[in-house]
Structure formats: C-alpha cells, structure tokens
Symmetry: C2
C-alpha cells in the first residue's frame, strides 16, 4: 500500500478540484491523505483521509521564509507527513517555490545529492522528453549536471517506462567542444566514468528537446526555465495565430470546423496534464508538482505518478545509479548547497 | 551611394541564387560587389560588380583557421574589401562561423566593443523581436550583456524602425533578483547608469521572446542559441503534427484545403527571409548573415538591410549609445576577448 500526501491549496480551480483528483486516484494499492480546508475537500472515505489545514502559502512572495514561519500551512504539514513516514510521497501543485522549500526543509535531500532538480516531461508527439532542471537551480556546477543526468534517467526508467533512456546535454552545438565551460566539463564527465550505467548520447541543440533525439535532456535551471517558458510561448502564439487566421474568412472558418476533431486529438496527445506535472528529483521521497491550472484529471495523474515512483523505488534507483558512477557527493563536500527556490 | 560586398559561396541553392538576389537589390543608391565563382554569377551590369573568387570555406570544420590560411576564399576577399573601404557593408550567408571569423579578423571589432554579437529578428506575428546573442559568445560577462543591449537598440532604431525599442534581459523570472549572478549584475547595470539612453524594461521569461513584451531581448550566446533552435524545433514539430493530423481523415483533409490560403498568409508573415537573416553587431561595419537556405528574395533583403544599416549609420549610433552610457570598453582592458566562432 502506498500513501500519497496531497496539498490541496493553491490550485487555480480550488481545493475541491484537487481533492476530486486525489479521490479518483485512490484505491488499487494507493491511499491519499489530502491537506487543505476540510470544508471544501468533501468527506473522507475508502482510501481517502482528509486533514484540515486551511492555511495556504501558495501566493507568498518569499516561499522559503513562508515555509519556515508557517508550520500550519498545508504544504508544510503535507511535507512533514512524508518526512515522518506517514506518507510515502508528496503531490503539491500550489507554488513550485513553496514545494521546493518545504521539500528541502522537511523531505530533505537524498544522501549524496548536491541539489534537487525540477524535471518536466515535455509533451511532444510520440513519447515525452524529460527536461531537467527547469528552474530549481539558476547556476550549477558540472558535477550537478552529472547528477541530474542520473536522476532523470532513473525516473525515466522507473516511471516513464523507458528501458534505456538516451540522456543528452543541452548545448549550443552537438560537438563535445560546444557549450559553456561547465557544459563542456559535464560532457567530459558523462562521456567517462561519471556516465557509467547511462546511455549518454552527447549534446543536443534546442531542437533536440522536441525532435525525439533524446529521452532525458539535462541543463541548468536558468536555461531549462527559459526553454520551458519559450516552448509554452511559441506553442500558444502559433496556435493563437492559426486560430486567428482560421476566423479570417468564411472559407477558412469552415476549414477550421472540419479540422477540429483531428486537432482535438493532437491537443489530447500534447496534453500537459497527461504526465501529472513536474517532478522534483533528488529528495529522499518522490515529490510531484502538478501545474496550478490542472483539472482533477491532472491531479489524479500526479498521484498515480507519485505512487508509481514509490512502487518502482525511484529514490533507491537514483542512489544506486549515482553510486555506480561514482557521482555521489562525498561527505567532505560542503553541504550548504541550497538551490534558489 | 552604398556598396555592399556579397559572398556568394555556401548557400544551399548555390552561388547563382545569391547573385540573383544581389542583382535584384542593386540600384536606387545601392551597388553590390559579388564574390564567388564568376562562371556561375552571371554578368556584371548596372550597379553589379562580379569578383571571381571560386574558393569556398563554407564547409570547413574549423572556420577560424580556414579564414587565416585561405586568403583567396570568397568570404575573406569580401571581408577585406570592406576593411579596405572598397565596400561599406558585408553580406555573407555561407557559414556563420566563417563570417564571424572573417569579420573579426578583417572588418574588426568596433572601438570600445568587447565582443561582437549575433542578433536575430525573431519572426513573430506583429513586429519582429531582436534576440542577441544567438551564438557568437557562449560565455559572457555582465558588461558584455550591457553592450549587447546598446548594440541591439541601435540596430532596432536604425534599421528596424522602432523609435524607442523596449530592451529586456532574458531570465528565469521577471524579478530583478532572478537569473544567474551575471544576469543579475547586468540587470543592475542596465537599471542604472549603464542603461542611460535605453528604454530598459527589466527581465522577460522565455515567453517574452514571442509575446511582444520587448523589441530587443538580450542574453548570452549559449542561451540565445538554445532558444533559437528550440523555437525552430517547436514551430516545425507543431506545424508538422497539425499537417499530419490534417491528413488523418477525409474530413480533416478537406478542412486543411479550405484553410490553406489563410495559413499561407500566416506563413508569409512569419517568413524568416523577410528580415534578411541575422546581424553581426559590434564590428566596424555592418555585417548581415542570411541563412544558408534562403532564396534570392532573402539575399536581396539582406543586401537591403545592410545598405540601410550603412545609410542610418548603425555603427556610429552604437558607439554614441555606448559612450553616453559609459559602457565603452576602456583601452586598459584586455583586448584578447575573441568570441567562439
């Protein structure tokens, strides 16, 4: 039996929508414990526990300090439940910053991990591409990138069902000599000992995020975040422009109507809710971060992904992968490596 | 009268296509001097001079060394003609690396400029957004980013016809505290003295490249190159997926046919040839880098853009902007700042 702690606060559609998603995911080996305003969460039931935690810090400007000074906040209570072993994984979609901060403070970094990273499955036609880091660490060192590669690969194997994920580094050229000095150094490590157990395929350019060249793409949180927002921007601009044009004449409008069912199929295939959100990797337990605008379906997927990460022991696989490659942080190294939230 | 030197080698459609574009742009105050295999360039004529320079280094793996050891190469001859004052600007689309190398070696950096940058007008619905650097410098310092801001603004004012361009820094969040330490430092400089004469609007996220928030977006060449390739990838993946779906059923295919004229209009609006290619800023003379796959129309636009940059004295405006903001490189600073080609 896997128990998933779910923070119901902060979602665009409100706590009731999150609770409905959690409820839908419960059963079949999965229990959920939902933290939020009990009055809005509905009643407990088979596999569903409700914890009244109305305080929300999802809109706080400084989430790290809000986490410290608001122990009653739902995200803090949910994270502490995971830390105490009352739940095996955390699903929290209210505020990525607050989830990062609560995750670091309470769930805590896995042993030997320098920095947790936020990984996002990019919905592309065919299989998703796992991009990390998409924003937890604006600046990283080469050994962090090496760890991200192992963390992403373990997740892709365990949860996304990719047996031998192709892992690539994002760069401004495919040659090993391209990139910043940090990217070049990470390339050197991954091509050698540090890539042991990985199927490291070298550098990919920006196109590699969407053309199926790789299953896991590794980068720093600055570049990853720019890439993520840019993809969202290009998709919505392009779709908006096409929609605008389709309204431009009766003829085009008729064509648009005829194409609608086919395009709906495409939209479903590219549905960001289908993967349950982003994954905060490198903590002691699985933490899933659904997007605040998700519907109950997306939250249900997030719970299912979290449960699968527990069942497949992604934290354990990650540790084993890092250890085999000699990529664990040594105890002698500074522990004060807290990422930007 | 403005004379534009044009390298005809290296284009996907061959030297004759480039020559046809150059010829189309000649006249009305513009002369062209075309360097390439004379046998393929057609005859000289009104405003068109042909220089037989069959040697091409467009496919060389190491363009910087190829430029040094191949003085007879068309790109080298064209760049030297500009350096010698026989032409006022350079158009060279064969190989960005070779153009960068020849530009640096012969046209040379403008006085007080740390690093030239490659600027690309992103075709978005409405006005283009000028993104720089898209690949000349994988690593930059804050003062380089400040110079890029002034270089981009001067070009946008002089050539793209934007009176008071909104200049933004690309980052992983809009707050001044987001970004790498270099981006934060550049933000501080641009918000203060270093931004004098600029309309600096702060940070934009990746979405800011396509949503019309800014006219000029400044970043390092690593992030800029990743962004550029990613935009190309997302657009072509999305358009490809829509096209694929449109073929999926007779109904969708009929809809696609009806929408075709409207979508053709959109394609024209987003046509990358319309802006003439990328602009290598920060050299003593204007250098335009059309994409190798451009048709004659794109090369003609590149020549027109180059001529306009000369007529509007973009190098002079850039110098004046940098000087007014106290952002010129001081003579005491190391001159050995050669970008990655």
């Amino acid at each position: 039996m896997v128990t998933v702690a779910v923070d119901a606060n902060g979602a665009d559609l409100g706590p009731a929508e999150v609770a409905a998603g959690a409820r839908a995911a419960a059963g079949d080996g999965v229990r959920v414990r939902v933290f939020g305003p009990a009055a809005e969460l509905g009643s407990a039931g088979e596999g569903v526990e409700v914890v009244d935690a109305p305080a929300s810090i999802a809109k706080e400007a400084d989430p790290a300090s809000a986490v410290r000074r608001t122990p009653e906040a739902s995200i803090v209570q949910a994270a502490r439940a995971v830390a105490a072993g009352e739940a095996d994984a955390l699903v929290a979609g209210g505020s990525t910053g607050a989830t990062l901060a609560a995750g670091l403070l309470h769930v805590r970094r896995a042993k030997g991990v320098h920095r947790p990273a936020l990984a996002l499955p990019i919905p592309v036609p065919g299989a998703p591409v796992l991009l990390l880091d998409v924003g937890a660490n604006a600046e990283v060192r080469p050994e962090h990138l090496v760890q991200f590669a192992h963390m992403g690969a373990a997740f892709a194997r365990g949860v996304l069902g990719v047996d031998e994920p192709r892992v690539a580094l994002l760069s401004n050229g495919e040659e090993a000599t391209r990139g910043t000095s940090d990217v070049q150094a990470a390339h050197g490590l991954l091509a050698g000992e540090g890539g042991r157990g990985l199927r490291f395929t070298g550098n990919v350019e920006g196109t590699g995020l969407v053309d199926g060249q790789a299953d896991v793409v590794v980068t720093d949180g600055f570049t990853g975040n720019v890439a993520l927002k840019l993809m969202e921007g290009v998709s919505s601009t392009l779709v908006g422009a096409i929609r605008e044009r389709a309204k431009g004449s009766p003829r085009a409008a008729a064509g648009g109507l005829l194409m609608k069912p086919a395009l709906r199929g495409l939209r479903d295939e590219l549905d960001p809710e289908a993967q349950g959100g982003a994954y905060l990797l490198g903590l002691r337990r699985a933490v899933i971060v659904p997007h605040g605008r998700f519907t109950r379906g997306g939250y249900a997927r997030a719970v299912a992904v979290a449960a699968r990460a527990v069942e497949r022991d992604v934290p354990g696989r990650t540790h084993a992968g890092l250890e085999a490659a000699g990529a664990l942080r040594r105890a002698s190294e500074a522990a004060a490596t807290v990422p930007d939230a």
